[in-house]
Symmetry: C2
Subunit: 218 residues, 2 copies
Amino acid sequence: METTNPAGLRERKKQQTREEISAVATALFSERGFEQVTIADVAAAAGVAKMTVTNHFPLKEDLVFDRAEHIIRGLAEAVADRPAGEPVLAAARRFHAERLAAWDPTLGHLGAAFARMVEASPALVARERQIQDLREQALADVLVGQARPEEELTARVVAAQIAGTYRVLYFTARRMLLDGMAQAELADALGRTARRAFDLLAADLSGFDPRPRLRSTA
Amino acid sequence: METTNPAGLRERKKQQTREEISAVATALFSERGFEQVTIADVAAAAGVAKMTVTNHFPLKEDLVFDRAEHIIRGLAEAVADRPAGEPVLAAARRFHAERLAAWDPTLGHLGAAFARMVEASPALVARERQIQDLREQALADVLVGQARPEEELTARVVAAQIAGTYRVLYFTARRMLLDGMAQAELADALGRTARRAFDLLAADLSGFDPRPRLRSTA
DNA sequence: CGTACTGCTTAGGTCGGACCTAATCTTAGG
DNA sequence: CCTAAGATTAGGTCCGACCTAAGCAGTACG
């Protein structure tokens, strides 16, 4: 039977094919742009059949975001597995700090070339947002599952706030990259920004009004 | 010249065509399901050329969400035009209450049949989320534009929190509809839920932990 | 009041992504 | 070995997105 032998030759070859395709695709995409490369191009360049590409990557966008599952599940699992007594928000904050310390690029810092490629393609931007929506969904599912029925709304609002903060931090990292910030500086800047963002999350923002003074109409 | 005569016969005919197409499409979609109807089907049923459909509705999904622009801009404009001295969160809360009082179905209560049609189609669910992301973007643009540079992060976090709350309320309305709640009850329930959600937004949620007591692993 | 212009609509395409079926080949396990 | 499982292949269909050129119906202006 042997469906998922972790080290079987079969499985290794499959992964090898998958990574070969992914590597070739990323190269083509950053060279010519996502929309200017067809799946047939990728297949030809990788020396496999078109169907093999779509078997490994059901959507063309998956060729770029091949760690989507990891991004989607990570936060939800970290919150689900948090130590007893740790509030949800603290767990989310800790998880972000941990990922940042491990320099996990799924927080948004996959490199300037990658960032430029994504921003140049509406399809990739849309897919990126969808992945982050799914991450919010996964987190909400965990929280709703743990909450009493009368807490469901609170659980969903908390999930939205946490996922929203992660999203803001993700795009902030992207903007820093595109502005040409060096990696050494980026790590520090991201850490500081994350601390500020999570502090804001816990703070009372009901008085926020960026326009209290009169200024000429922007 | 006369490019946009508001009451011209030309313009009226165009709107008439647009609405005819939209009506025919909605009927076909709720009858057979979104994916089971092609653009050619819609064109044939409406008695126009395929190109006419795609001229009025660049994406197939636009045949369903033809008020997208309205949804996207409404919140941002309400916040941008808020009275002097009114905090952002208060404006967002007031706008939601106003739209609910006017029974504006873009808050999520477009009818159970509509809700079922959307939920049955991955493409429509994705488009719906994208519209809500664009709404967040629009709000963030307004707030960032009004804020001082050092307030930018705060502005983005606030935008994410408000848009997140709107999204939670939207899907809560959807769930109520799908659960078969009657319209009379729905109006009331939505109002109460909205008040609770906006209260949560202002409250300190940093202690939220739906699992403080030990329960057997869910 | 007729004519020229504008721009909505039409016809008939191309392109590419998503999906399908059946055949082929390779490895794992009996 | 030899068979079952499953990865890969070949060759196709379908349909949404997009294009160009031509047709046609209101509008504006002389």
